[in-house]
Every structure is written in structure tokens, then in C-alpha cells.
């Protein structure tokens, strides 16, 4: 069992660990990357190579565990076996942060593996408060929840996404994983100002930032994690830096995953922006 690694304040930039990079990282290369985020569900039940690779890497890098199947906004009971296995995994890996998404993903017997939005209203605020309290109690840890890229909003939404998130994080003592790419994608698709979104966020609650490159489909933006960072998303990060500078930042790439060096180039770009901001 290796010792838990903590984020180096001088290198707050990480990338999502993906299997095509295993062999590169196993050679312990000198890297600009300061920490790694894993998808919890890809590791928590396997006893094979992915788990071994993770065990080796966690002695070199701080690890953040990001889930995709908690389905916090579902109206079904929690899958207690899933939560039990997650808890065991977190206890073993001891990540510096655990997180999932503000969404529902389907039902236990029909998991769509899609991150689906819900209406931003008081009914769901109350429901999510209870669910978050329950899951944080079962896991014995605080969670961070990621704002979603959603391709529709509900007629029954009575508040904005940022008002909902602000209320929710205040009332549940959970953290926020702020995905700037999602904010930008949503702002384009649903026609709002991303700056309005960021102005409502309590940055003391933000424990991790996600950044990625979206793709353009027809005339809407799709959160595909398939491109380098767009200038508009970098501009949002600069706006965040004017409020708080030490939040760990993750760059993610999930479609047609390029060599690790391509991800590192994005990290170097972000580091340069960050360095200027802290001078």
C-alpha cells in the first residue's frame, strides 16, 4: 500500500488517466502533469491490470476519483452494493477528492450511461439535498458534484442552473466540481452568459475544475472531450483565476485519445496562464 500523494500547490494541473496512456506512464516519464483523475467505475471492481497500474501510479501522483454512475438525481433507491464497493475502493485508494455528476443516468435495470439533466426547481432541490446527505453519510466522505452539459432544459425549471447549484452546495455541505467546458457549451446551446454563471458560484466550494475541448454538431456544441481547449473556455479559466487561483484543474480527452504529450501541451498552456495570474 503506497502513501497518499497530495496536490503540489506549484503544480495544480492534472489529466484524466485513460488506458491508452498506461504503457507510457508505466515508464515513469518526467512529466508536466501534477495529478491524475480516474473514472471510479473503471477501477473499483477489476482486479486486473487497470487496478495494478493505478496502484503503481498512486505512489507517484495524487489521485482524484470521478464517478459516472451514482445517479444522484434518480428517484430510485441507491444501489447499496455499488455504494459499498465504491466505499471500499475509496478507502483503499484514499483519493484527494471524490466526485460524480449532477444528473441521473437511467434506472438500475436500464442504465443508459448517459448523464441526464433534471429540472432546476424546489422539488428536485429538496430531493437532491436528501440524496446527497444520504450518500455522503454512507460513503463517510464529502463529494464534489459536477455541473452538467445538458442538451435540454425543462419548462418546469423555476431557477437557473447556477442558482440551483449555489443553493444545493450551501444546504448540503457538498463540494462543486466546476466544469468550465460544460458551462460554455450550455451557455451557447441555451443562450446565457457564462459570466453570469460564474458570478453566482461560491469558489470556496469548488474543489476541482474540468476543462476539455467540445465539438460542433449542426449548430450546437457537443461536450465530446475530443479537441484541444478553445479560447473561450480558456477565457473562462482566466475569469476563475481572478477569483481563486489554487483550485486543481483537470484537462480531459476521451474521444480518439491522442498521445500523452498532446495532453501535456495543454497542461503547459494552462500553466503559463496560471503563472501569469499569480505573478
Amino acid at each position: 500500500m503506497s502513501v497518499k500523494q497530495l496536490i503540489n500547490p506549484a503544480n495544480i494541473f492534472g489529466v484524466g488517466l485513460r488506458s491508452p496512456h498506461y504503457s507510457y506512464l508505466e515508464q515513469s516519464p518526467k512529466t508536466e502533469v501534477g495529478w491524475l483523475e480516474i473514472i471510479s467505475e473503471n477501477y473499483f471492481r477489476t482486479k486486473g491490470k487497470p487496478r495494478l497500474v493505478l496502484e503503481n501510479l498512486r505512489s507517484q501522483f495524487p489521485i482524484s476519483c470521478h464517478g459516472v454512475s451514482l445517479s444522484i438525481a434518480s428517484y430510485e433507491e441507491f444501489d447499496l452494493k455499488y455504494l459499498h464497493d465504491l466505499k471500499m475502493f475509496y478507502d483503499e485508494i484514499d483519493p484527494f477528492l471524490i466526485s460524480d455528476h449532477l444528473c441521473f443516468t437511467g434506472k438500475k435495470l436500464n442504465n443508459l450511461h448517459n448523464l441526464l439533466p433534471f429540472a432546476y426547481n424546489h422539488e428536485n432541490l429538496h430531493h437532491l439535498k436528501n440524496r446527497i446527505d444520504q450518500v455522503q453519510s454512507i460513503l463517510g466522505r464529502q463529494l464534489a458534484f459536477e455541473n452538467l452539459s445538458a442538451y435540454f432544459d425543462y419548462n418546469s425549471s423555476s431557477m437557473t442552473e447556477w442558482e440551483f447549484i449555489s443553493e444545493l452546495t450551501k444546504s448540503t455541505d457538498c463540494h462543486l466540481l466546476l466544469d468550465l467546458n460544460n458551462v460554455f457549451v450550455n451557455s451557447h446551446n441555451h443562450q446565457f452568459s457564462p459570466i453570469d454563471f460564474l458570478s453566482m458560484i461560491d469558489f470556496n466550494r469548488v474543489k476541482e475544475i474540468h476543462m476539455a475541448g467540445y465539438s460542433i454538431r449542426e449548430n450546437f456544441y457537443f461536450d465530446s472531450h475530443s479537441n484541444p481547449l478553445y479560447p473561450e473556455v480558456i477565457a473562462l479559466y482566466e475569469s476563475v483565476l481572478s477569483k481563486k487561483k489554487n483550485i486543481p484543474v483537470l484537462f480531459e480527452w476521451d474521444e480518439n485519445i491522442p498521445p500523452f504529450e498532446v495532453l501535456e501541451a495543454q497542461i503547459i498552456k494552462l500553466k503559463t496562464i496560471w503563472s501569469k495570474a499569480i505573478d
Partner: protein, 251 residues
């Protein structure tokens, strides 16, 4: 409609493309870039793509052998019959072998069901903890002392009516695919792990049956007695050499 009921219908609409799409759309805001109906389609497309990709990742050789169009056709039919019931997308595809029994492609390509079984087993061994056997000198001592020896558990026995390993490796070697290949022959395989890599070795039916004896702890003298009609002395030496260099034995 409350959120709970809406969720149930939306899940059905996305996974089954049912006719209630208009009902769901009436609860959704149209935006300048995405109409309500188009937004639902985006989720439907994403759902299909995600599950198809998961099947492609698990069944790489089947994908190669069927080609993109036929594999996607198979995946589409499978997805509409078998929703995912796991939190891990990597678990998706467990029922494919069963599904093929009644699918046209299963009848058209008789080897396909065996290939699916092979690839799902490969996936299982990949995720299994590597059970490392003892070093050769320790095994030699156990044999000398006639202690019960047995095979590690990150290993499995497979038998097919087709040369599945030959078909499986075609995906890595395009050139062989240009020529017709003979694959209608029985095959006896051991799939095992070494240094976290999943490997396979083919055996004759007798050698394979001999090896099966050691799935339960068996002393060397009893093994020789039970296996004398199955393998020759030379074959026995070869088998033990294979087991030793791959650390597949315990006692």
C-alpha cells in the same frame, strides 16, 4: 408530470425510441440551437453510440470479422433487447452469446457464438487477479515429494468446434484475411495470464484433458496414473515445461 414519472418515460424514449417522444418534448424548452425533439435525439444517438462502442471494445475480433455495418446492426438489435444493468459500461455484452442463438447473424456465421464466448472469457481473465504459481524448482520439489499440485485460478479451459484462435488473431494481421482460411476444426485452448497479459495456448484434445485433471489438487504419481493413456512421455515433458515457464502450477 413530476420528475420521477418524467424520468421513467425519458429513459424509455432514449433506450427504446418509443412513440412518446412528442409527450416528452412538450416538457422541454426549445432553444435556438436545439429543438426539444432534436435534443432528445442527441441523447438517443449518444446512448446507441456509447453502448455500441462498449460492445466493440469487448468484441474486437467479432467486430473485425463482421465488419462495421454488420456489427452495428448486431449491436443495435442487442441494445434494444438487453439494456445495461451495471454501473460499469465495461460489463455490457454479457448476454451476447445467448442473444446470437436467435439472431440471424448467429445462423449466418456459425463460429460467431464461439468467438463471442472466447472474447467474453478473455475479458473476464483480463479483470481477474493474476494468480502467480510457484517457481520451477519449488514445483520440482513438490513432484519429488509427491505433493498434490494444481493449476492457478487465473486460467481457464476452452473448447470450440472452430479454430477460434486462428480467427481471433486475424484482427491483428490483415494480410491473412486476403486468403480463405480453414477454420472448421475443433480447438482446445488454455487461456491464462502472465505479467498481466492474457495469453492463449492450444493443445491436442488428449493433452487438454490431461491438463484438466490438475484443476483439482492431484499428486504427480496419481496424475501419471490417470493420464498415461492421454499423453506420451515427451508430451508430458512439454506440458510441464509450459506450466513451469508460465508459473501456472501451485501445490
Amino acid at each position: 408530470m413530476n420528475q420521477k414519472d418524467f424520468n421513467d418515460i425519458l429513459i424509455e424514449v432514449i433506450s427504446n425510441r418509443s412513440a412518446t417522444m412528442d409527450l416528452i418534448a412538450s416538457y422541454i424548452k426549445n432553444s435556438p440551437h436545439l429543438t426539444a425533439l432534436r435534443a432528445i435525439e442527441v441523447y438517443q444517438e449518444d446512448y446507441q453510440a456509447r453502448l455500441t462502442e462498449a460492445l466493440k471494445n469487448t468484441y474486437r475480433a467479432s467486430y473485425f470479422l463482421l465488419g462495421d455495418r454488420e456489427f452495428k446492426h448486431l449491436a443495435k438489435d442487442y441494445i434494444s433487447s438487453y439494456p445495461s444493468q451495471s454501473s460499469d459500461l465495461d460489463d455490457y455484452g454479457f448476454d451476447m452469446e445467448l442473444f446470437l442463438k436467435s439472431h440471424q447473424l448467429g445462423k449466418e456465421y456459425p463460429f460467431l457464438s464461439s468467438m463471442i464466448h472466447f472474447e467474453w472469457t478473455f475479458r473476464n481473465i483480463f479483470h481477474k487477479k493474476w494468480d502467480i504459481g510457484l517457481a520451477g524448482s519449488e514445483i520440482e520439489k513438490a513432484i519429488m515429494d509427491d505433493k498434490p499440485i494444481y493449476l492457478v485460478n487465473s486460467l481457464c479451459f476452452l473448447q470450440y468446434d472452430f479454430l477460434i484462435s486462428k480467427l481471433y488473431f486475424l484482427k491483428d494481421n490483415n494480410s491473412d484475411y486476403q486468403n480463405p482460411i480453414e477454420y472448421e476444426n475443433k480447438e482446445f485452448i488454455i487461456m491464462y495470464k502472465k505479467n498481466e497479459i492474457v495469453l492463449i495456448k492450444t493443445f491436442s484434445q488428449n493433452q487438454w484433458q490431461f491438463l484438466k485433471i490438475i484443476t483439482a489438487p492431484t499428486s504427480f504419481s496419481k496424475l501419471i496414473q490417470e493420464g498415461e493413456t492421454l499423453v506420451t512421455k515427451n508430451e508430458l515433458q512439454d506440458i510441464f515445461h509450459f506450466l513451469n515457464i508460465n508459473s501456472l502450477l501451485k501445490y
